[in-house]
């Protein structure tokens, strides 16, 4: 490729655009960078398709995922049943599509809960410092000490009869994951807090809640958003792991982890009922982690 043609208009063009455009804030700058990243575009398209799948699964498959027929168990793929049938004779393609909703609901809700709980507590700890910070930080360390999937396994198996299985997965993942967001938010707020504009805002009469939500939060949010996007993929994988271990989503609800678990026994005879949900799971997790990476690069150019 010859570079002689492209170089001058490129730099000039971007500059021009910025001047005509609305002034560049951190977020509009990040958006400008993101739109030009292949990793972001690909992951965004993948996530778009997955979201569509979660909201309207019938768009992709008209076959009822719970209409099973034992007489055709482990049937090979055919025109009507693209991915074949599983051990119980259910349509694998339809089940894979319908499982997207649970995985994504669990991923998104857990991420939101973790960001809100960890973020709020982290901000409060950093803002009030001293006693509040000490108590909250020690509490965080207690939760940190619990090994991830083992702790979730414990919580999920203890309460499995009391609560809806999807809610239970969300709760157990949240309980074990908020400390990470707490730490990130706390560190970000401590950095922001020492900046002059926070002191200046105080000197001009801003109260604690205004300081926290208007001055500190927007300046400390970027790292939390980055970690949350990456976490979303991790939570979806964790849900699959819990379901695989039998304490996550329970039948008749459908999830990729559950499908993998069900297909495991006869994997050598019929590998497809395991491979398809596994591929979907991998793609989903990859898409969210790729998105998180792209967002991190855009919001925090220093990490590049």
């Amino acid at each position: 490729m010859s570079s002689s043609v492209a170089s001058p208009p490129q730099s000039g063009g971007r500059h021009q655009k910025k001047q005509n455009d609305k002034p560049a804030s951190l977020w509009s700058d990040a958006w400008y960078d993101l739109r030009r990243k292949p990793a972001f575009v690909i992951s965004a398209i993948l996530i778009g398709v997955l979201l569509l799948m979660a909201i309207w699964p019938t768009l992709f498959s008209s076959v009822d995922p719970r209409a099973c027929d034992l007489s055709v168990a482990r049937q090979a793929p055919s025109a009507g049943h693209l991915f074949g049938r599983d051990n119980l004779g259910c349509d694998v393609y339809s089940r894979t599509i319908h499982a997207a909703r649970n995985s994504i609901v669990i991923g998104v809700l857990t991420t939101v809960l973790v960001a809100v709980i960890g973020g709020l507590l982290g901000m409060v700890a950093a803002f009030y410092a001293s006693m509040t910070d000490t108590v909250l930080s020690r509490l965080t360390e207690i939760f940190f000490a619990i090994p991830g999937i083992l702790g979730a396994l414990l919580i999920a198996s203890t309460f499995r009869d009391q609560i809806n299985s999807i809610l239970l997965v969300i709760v157990s993942l949240t309980v074990l994951s908020w400390p990470m967001t707490f730490r990130i938010m706390r560190a970000a707020v401590i950095t922001a807090k020492n900046q002059d504009f926070v002191v200046a805002a105080r000197a001009l009469g801003a109260g604690p809640s205004r300081l926290m939500f208007r001055h500190l939060l927007p300046n400390a949010l970027a790292p939390v958003i980055v970690v949350s996007t990456i976490n979303l993929g991790v939570f979806i994988a964790a849900e699959a792991a819990l379901s695989f271990l039998g304490v996550g989503v329970q039948s008749p609800d459908i999830s990729w982890g559950l499908m993998i678990s069900d297909a495991r026994d006869r994997f050598l005879d019929a590998p497809l009922p395991l491979i398809f949900p596994a591929v979907f799971l991998s793609i989903t997790v990859l898409a969210f982690i790729m998105l998180g990476d792209a967002v991190r690069d855009a919001l925090d150019p220093k990490l590049r």
Partner: protein, 343 residues
């Protein structure tokens, strides 16, 4: 003026002979691991409406800490105020609740800082930040508050205010940012404005403009202005009186003209002599010898004694009281007569 002010403090009148703002025997200490740092040791000064007080002193003299104590924005701990009063219209601010103080900040006493870029929130437009003052404290609608923001930006003479109101702080020059800070500070018509080295980060021509702006705004609104600076050149034109601080104490109080004519404290004298002057070109510039005192380990007696050309034996043993020279002048030097005559 129809202002909706809170009822926590008495408004105009009803405070007898009290000045607008009086700092009385204020002490501020910082409790650190290395020991107790006595940053402010019995500072007193007063300010009337329409008056400009310049607080002069080098880094670590306690001038900014005093201002932060007035505003109530010191981090306590590590800061402790063991003694003293800050009376605003007769009410001791130090004894108010945090809620009541938040009401005072911004609405009745406002403050601007040295570095205007870092004093503005980088993620919001300047219009948003100025109009926030009206939305929060006056309950205005977004549109009305934005209109007021443009008016204020015009009042602090920002050209093309209407177009620039939606710009972010980093899109403004240093002088313009300081103007925006000033706009935010005067938004609610405070009675006292504290400017903590407002021009230090700016270049010389812009410094003059900002000082002029502050002086004009003060004339228009009759607010009291406390100007904290280490630059004698900046204060000469705008200040009415000067308080010189050294080692956490006020060492000299005087109307501005007297101090330039004849300083009554060796430290003030040293400061004046260390201003570069065109008519002395080619000669070596005078510098006060020695270093500012270590606040953890203050010299005995007069804090200035290790650096003082007038030092006698009793300077090392006795802390000089603030001697009254005339009704408006005082000096914390045992030998103020000699200093006054010698210059």
């Amino acid at each position: 003026m129809a202002k909706t002010k809170n009822d926590l403090l008495p408004s105009e009148g009803g405070f007898g002979n009290e000045p607008l703002l009086a700092v009385d025997n204020l002490h501020v200490e910082f409790h650190t691991r290395a020991g107790v740092v006595k940053a402010v040791n019995g500072v007193s000064y007063s300010l009337s409406a329409g008056e400009t007080l310049a607080v002069l002193g080098e880094s670590g003299s306690g001038k900014s800490v005093t201002a932060q104590a007035i505003m109530g924005i010191l981090d306590m701990p590590p800061a402790v105020i063991p003694k003293g009063e800050v009376r605003f219209r007769g009410t001791d601010l130090l004894r108010l609740s945090e809620d009541a103080r938040t009401q005072v900040r911004g609405q009745r006493i406002a403050m601007i800082f040295q570095d205007a870029l870092s004093s503005l929130n980088p993620v919001f437009t300047v219009g948003w930040q100025i109009s926030e003052m009206f939305r929060v404290h006056r309950g205005m609608s977004k549109r009305d508050a934005m209109k007021k923001a443009v008016e204020l930006m015009e009042r602090v003479r920002i050209p093309a205010a209407k177009q620039r109101v939606n710009d972010y702080p980093h899109q403004f020059s240093g002088g313009m940012r300081q103007r925006i800070m000033i706009a935010m500070a005067i938004a609610l018509d405070p009675e006292v404005l504290i400017a903590d080295e407002p021009t230090t980060a700016l270049d010389v021509t812009v410094q003059a403009q900002i000082m002029e702006l502050l002086a004009d705004l003060q004339r228009e609104s009759n607010m009291g202005l406390i100007l904290i600076t280490h630059d004698l050149g900046v204060v000469a034109d705008v200040a009415d009186k000067i308080a010189v601080m050294y080692g956490g104490r006020i060492v000299e109080n005087a109307p501005v003209h007297d101090i330039y004519k004849a300083p009554a404290h060796p430290y003030t004298k040293g400061l004046l002599e260390s201003i570069p002057r065109v008519d002395l070109k080619g000669q070596e510039l005078y510098a006060i010898k020695g270093l500012p005192p270590n606040l953890l380990d203050m010299p005995s007696g007069c804090a200035f004694n290790p650096r003082c050309p007038y030092r006698q034996d009793n300077c090392v043993t006795d802390v000089p009281p603030l001697h009254e020279i005339s009704g408006v002048r005082s000096s914390a030097c045992h030998y103020w007569r000699e200093v006054l005559d010698g210059s």
